[in-house]
Structures are given as structure tokens and as C-alpha cells.
Symmetry: C2
């Protein structure tokens, strides 16, 4: 079993404390990642967690697999409507539900199953809870980081002149798959998706798009307007490779820069500024620091370097963040972003990704994952930051 009973129990206890604090009688989880986080199984099922008492995993498909993989003691087939009412005591009126990811049809289905009860939104409670990683989770993330770094370290062996962006993506993804990275990258926000990552070079990198990040890429068609394109990678332009590695569900996310040839001084200056901002942010990833203040500090450094308008996007299209939580999903809490007034907590893991978009020249920057710690960020992706010149 991947998830131990103790680990699951501790998560349930933390949730129950939050539920009680908000006077919510229990929570129903149906989003697979939420179910996995608490139960250890990503099967199609409904997890009922009462504010007091033991959780119950109700499985639609596959029950055998859930019994094999989940550490929850009470696992049953999904019950009839009548039996469902017996499971959730009549005195429980307020029931937590994750409004951020659950479709309206599912909401209506559970509302009908539970007449007279109030399904209340616990999206924020759920995400805040999960933002803080346990020691076991941090170990998982360090292992993921090591594995992803090993694949990144191989890039100089296969990056060759004349390749298309998709050829480079294919070579990287081939090695990532063989290294055991799980394929499907979980993103929570509605409308967001990412395959394995991005290979973007030169002007294509600066192409705007739907992705909530500084870089989207041109992609292969209007149906898939993101990531690598079929353009041949030119010499003397920045090649940005931003990839996630996923092992036992735990995602790490990193970016490195490559060049066939050399780069002009504007791009090198922007890269140095990105490293400087990364150092500043990493030093300040301490419990108690406020997310939006760190973003403001990063923006200030970019502005001082004469690159404020290029920070995290093309001029006029700048994203207002420089880091995002990462764990079982690519977009976990917290964000190092404008308007994010929350304080950092020990054990949160954040991908810091200061990047600059220089229209006509391309995109340049860095990305590494750090755990928030008393002495500042503890680095998870340990490969050298330096640009690799081919």
C-alpha cells in the first residue's frame, strides 16, 4: 500500500479539526485526487468523512482495486439511495463539498440523495489543508525531484541542431516515461491542462495563450494551442524546457534553459535577474512571510533590473504570480502572487519560476521547487541552474 494507515489518519484528523471549526458535520469527496489524498486509492468512489468518527469509502469502480490500494478500514460498494441516507446521520445538516471541481450534475445528484441537507463549499479548506506536506510527502517529493533532475541532466546528450520543438519534446518524454514518470498531470483549475510540459524556443515561446503561466507555447493546432510546435529550433535563441515529473502521484516541476549557439546580452541579463529573484524568494520561503509581499519583492527586483514590463509575461500580458504550490496537483496552494495575502507555512512546497518574456527574442528564466522551512526554502530540484550551451 502506497499510503500508510497512520498517514491517512493524520490527514483525516486535520480535516476533521477544520470541519468542526467551521461547524460542518462532515465532508463528501468525489474528485479522484481528493479521494486519493485521504484514502490512498484513486478509484471511482465517494469518500465520506464525518467531523467525528471514521471515514467510509464507497466504491463504484473498482471495488477490488480499492480494497487492495486503500488504507481506509471501512470500504463498501456504493450503496442504494436508501442505504446512503443511513450512512449520513439525519442530524448532520451541513456537508462539505468541493465546489471548485465538482460538476453541477454531480452536485444535483448528491443534493437529491440528501434532501434537506446543505452542501457547503469546502474548496479552500481542502486546498489549504493539502498545501502543507507531511514529512512522508516531502520525502516523496524529494524522490520525484531527484528522478526528474536525472532526466533533465540527459538533455545535452540528445539536443541537436535541426530538431523541431516536438522532436525535442519526444526525446525528453521518452526518457521521462522510461524513468517511470506517471503520465497524467493533474491540474485543478477549470479550463487548465498541460500534457507533460513545454518545449518552446525563440519567438514561439513568447506566444500568448490560455495557460495560467508566463509561457504557453504555440502548440500544434488551434485545438491544442500549447507547448511544443513543429517549428525547427533555431540557433542562438533561448530554448525553454519546463516539465513535470510525477512519481507515486507527487509532481515536481522545473525549467531549464538551453541554447544551440550563444545568447545576446539582453537575454543573459534577464537570466541573471531570474536567478537573483529565485535566490531572494528561496531565502524568504519561511513560515510567516506573506505571499503577496514576496511577489512584490520579486517584481521590484525585476523593475530595478529594467525588466518589470517583461516579468512573467509579454508587456501588457504579465501574469501576477511568480510561484505556485505543487504536490498531487500542479496548481496547489499557495501562490506567490499579487492579492495572495496568506502567510507561508512550514512544509508547503512551492515551484518558484521567475521568467521574462522578451518579444522578438524569446523567453528566459528558471524554475525549481522548494519546501518552506525555518531557514528558508529547502531545494527539491537540485540540478544546476546554468544555461546549457550546445
Amino acid at each position: 500500500m502506497l499510503l500508510s494507515e497512520t498517514e491517512s489518519e493524520q490527514r483525516i484528523i486535520r480535516l476533521q479539526k477544520e470541519l468542526k471549526g467551521s461547524r460542518i458535520g462532515g465532508a463528501l469527496f468525489i474528485h479522484p485526487i481528493d479521494v486519493f489524498y485521504f484514502s490512498g486509492a484513486r478509484q471511482t468512489s465517494t469518500l465520506w468523512v464525518p467531523a467525528e468518527g471514521s471515514p467510509l469509502l464507497l466504491v463504484r469502480e473498482s471495488l477490488n482495486r480499492a480494497l487492495e490500494e486503500s488504507c481506509i478500514t471501512d470500504i463498501r460498494p456504493f450503496p442504494s439511495s436508501k442505504e446512503f441516507l443511513d450512512i449520513i446521520p439525519a442530524e448532520i445538516n451541513k456537508i462539505g463539498f468541493t465546489y471548485d471541481v465538482v460538476p453541477v450534475q454531480q452536485f444535483n445528484y448528491y443534493s437529491t440523495l440528501l434532501p434537506g441537507r446543505e452542501l457547503v463549499d469546502i474548496s479552500t479548506i481542502n486546498r489549504e489543508l493539502r498545501s502543507v506536506k507531511s514529512p512522508w510527502e516531502l520525502t516523496q517529493m524529494h524522490a520525484s525531484g531527484d528522478k526528474l533532475c536525472e532526466v533533465f541532466a540527459q538533455i545535452p546528450e540528445f539536443l541537436k541542431p535541426g530538431m523541431r520543438e516536438i522532436d525535442l519534446a519526444a526525446e525528453f518524454e521518452y526518457r521521462l516515461c522510461k524513468a517511470g514518470s506517471e503520465g497524467y498531470l493533474q491540474v485543478r483549475a477549470f479550463n487548465q491542462e498541460l500534457f507533460r510540459g513545454l518545449v518552446v524556443s525563440g519567438d514561439n515561446a513568447a506566444c500568448p495563450g490560455f495557460f495560467d503561466g508566463p509561457v504557453t507555447g504555440r502548440g500544434l493546432s488551434a485545438a491544442s494551442p500549447q507547448g511544443a510546435s513543429s517549428a525547427v529550433i533555431e540557433t542562438n535563441v533561448p530554448i525553454l524546457m519546463d516539465f513535470a515529473g510525477i512519481f507515486n502521484g507527487y509532481i515536481v516541476d522545473m525549467t531549464r534553459m538551453f541554447v544551440i549557439g550563444s545568447l545576446g546580452p539582453e537575454l543573459l541579463h534577464a537570466f541573471d535577474t531570474a536567478l537573483e529573484i529565485q535566490s531572494y524568494l528561496a531565502e524568504n520561503l519561511k513560515p510567516g512571510n506573506i505571499c503577496e509581499e514576496l511577489f512584490a519583492g520579486a517584481l521590484e527586483k525585476a523593475t530595478k533590473a529594467g525588466l518589470g514590463k517583461n516579468f512573467m509575461g509579454a508587456p501588457g500580458e504579465n501574469a501576477k504570480f511568480v510561484g505556485h504550490g505543487v504536490g498531487l496537483e500542479l496548481d496547489e496552494f499557495p501562490a506567490i502572487a499579487q492579492g495572495f495575502k496568506v502567510v507561508l507555512q512550514a512544509g508547503q512546497v512551492i515551484a518558484l519560476e521567475p521568467k521574462f518574456v522578451l518579444p522578438g527574442l524569446g523567453v528566459i528564466g528558471i524554475e525549481n521547487d522548494f519546501a518552506v522551512g525555518d531557514g528558508g526554502g529547502v531545494r527539491i530540484t537540485k540540478l544546476s541552474d546554468e544555461i546549457v550551451f550546445i
Copy 2:
């Protein structure tokens, strides 16, 4: 532009007819695939289609990209709440919304934006509409089919003894990526996901799971319990490769069987039965035939062959379908399934996948895509069905 103005207009006209028939004043689409289908752009945006009049694309990110990619005439930045009310005339009371995919938070957001209006579910209207492909879409799907077949045809060159399932997946996905297949596979149903496809062999293939299909695979961890595992592929067992190819957004889905060595008579009998069922179904993919009757006919053939209990799942875990619509999403309408009483319509594209799960031996079967036509199914994936013996 990928989508022509004429193609988009015809889709909008078909939708408007349905809306008027249901006395719905207009429809709001926010799911990216729905927005793409009607507008030609998969940017983060809201598409307003009044039951009468011209559609309007309201873009959050990226406006520039939407202007470049969409054939909608009226494209604007997403408006303020006040302006939004001006866009949707006060006399329009009933507004269609896709309850199947839109999260509760988004529903509540639009409900607040439009006080006093009724957001009604148009999930079925939307899916039925999209199930029928235009001649242009059929051309796209045939092109996707040819490209995916080219990659499948290469498998005998790289399938070698001693490979792990993930090694074989890596080799296939490498070539699929280089052939220009877009990465992210769209699946509409809540809780469902698939990376690029499945490589499963022997017993691992028979492992149950959350995926709504006859085959799930063991995967790499409980967090990603699907698809290829790290097990070495044995000799004399069926190796099932079920992959999707995506080009210009159009998905084709096919399965072929491979063996290193030979197969016993039970498996060969099951394979012959799968081919026989495929022929029966393909001949009957004619407008007017009823989906559930075709499923019943397929099950009857399986039963006659002594394989009823192994059809589409391990005994006791049998899926009650044998085919599914495919197009911009992997799980489009209609399903050739028990309880699916709808009639087939010309231009629908269906992946037929008769498969048998023989516990202890593995999974064997076939999958090809066909367009419903007056003379029966028109085959889209033309590669030979035969088992490849290595």
C-alpha cells in the same frame, strides 16, 4: 484558421435550432472543447450563442490568440459584470449551460452575473449535436486515422523481448509525438482520464480499475492505477496496445494485439470472436439502427461462442458497452451500450472495441473507428486487424 467560418456557422445554426425547439433563449459555453467546437479557438473564454442572432466570444486569456484562431466575427475581452448584463438581453430568461462538465463554482458565478435568469442543462443537446460529424470533420478523422495507423504499423520494428510495459509505451509514444499527435486527450466524463493510451500484457491487462472500459491496466502506482506498468512483458501472452491519436483536435482510437511467441487456442478463439463481432457491428452501423440492440447482438455472439461472461470485462465486472462515439473527446455520443435506446445517425463516428478478459490469460480483442453510413460503417482506421507475432 483551422475552422472555417462556414463550418462554424453551420454548427451554430444546428445549435440554435435545438435551442428554439427547447424554448431556450441562448447558450453559454465555458468548457474549452465546447468553445472550440463552435468558435475554432480553445482559449479561456465564454461563448454566448443566442437562439437567434450572432454568437459572441468573450475572452479572458488570450485575446490575441483568440483573434488569430477563431472564426467568430464578434470577439471581445471578457466584460465587466454590468456590461455582461447588456450582452444577454433581459427578455432571455432560460439560458443553456453544460451541467455535465461545469463546476459548481462556475455555475454560481454565472448565476450571480445573471440574476433572475434560469440556467438550464443542455449537456445532452450539446453532446447529441456534436455526435454527428460534418463532411469536413470526417475528413479530419480519416486523416487522424491514417496517421495513427502509420505509428501502429511501426510496432513490429521496436517490440522486443525483455521490454517492460512502460518501455513499449515509451517507444510508441515517442513515435506518436514525432508524428505530430497532440498530447492532451480530452475525456468528458467526470472522474475519467487517460494519458495517451494503454500498453498492457498478460495478467496485468486483466487487472480491474476505475476506467470506464474493458481494460484499465495496473499502472505505476495507486496514484496512477492505469495503463502500462513496470512489469517485464512475458512471452506467449497477449500484449494489448490501445492508443489514441489526436490531430487538429480530432481523436481516433484503436487497439491491436501483439505476442512474443504464440497464443493458446482459448485466446485465439476469443480473438476470432472479437473480429466476428466487429464485422457484425460494422455492417450494422447504419442510420436508424438502435444502439442497445447492436450491443445485445454483440453480446449474443459472444455468448454463442461460449465467451459471454468474458465479454468486455472479467466475469462479474463486465462493462455493458462495446463501442463509443469519438471526435473532439474520447467519450462522445452515442455509446453502443445496454440502455442506449437512441438510433444511429449518418456521420456519427464510433470506436468499436469488442474485447475479452480471460483471467489468468489476459485480454484480447480489437478496436477500430467507423463512421455510420447508409451502407454500414465506413472504416477510418485501416491497418490490418491481425495479431502480430514477434
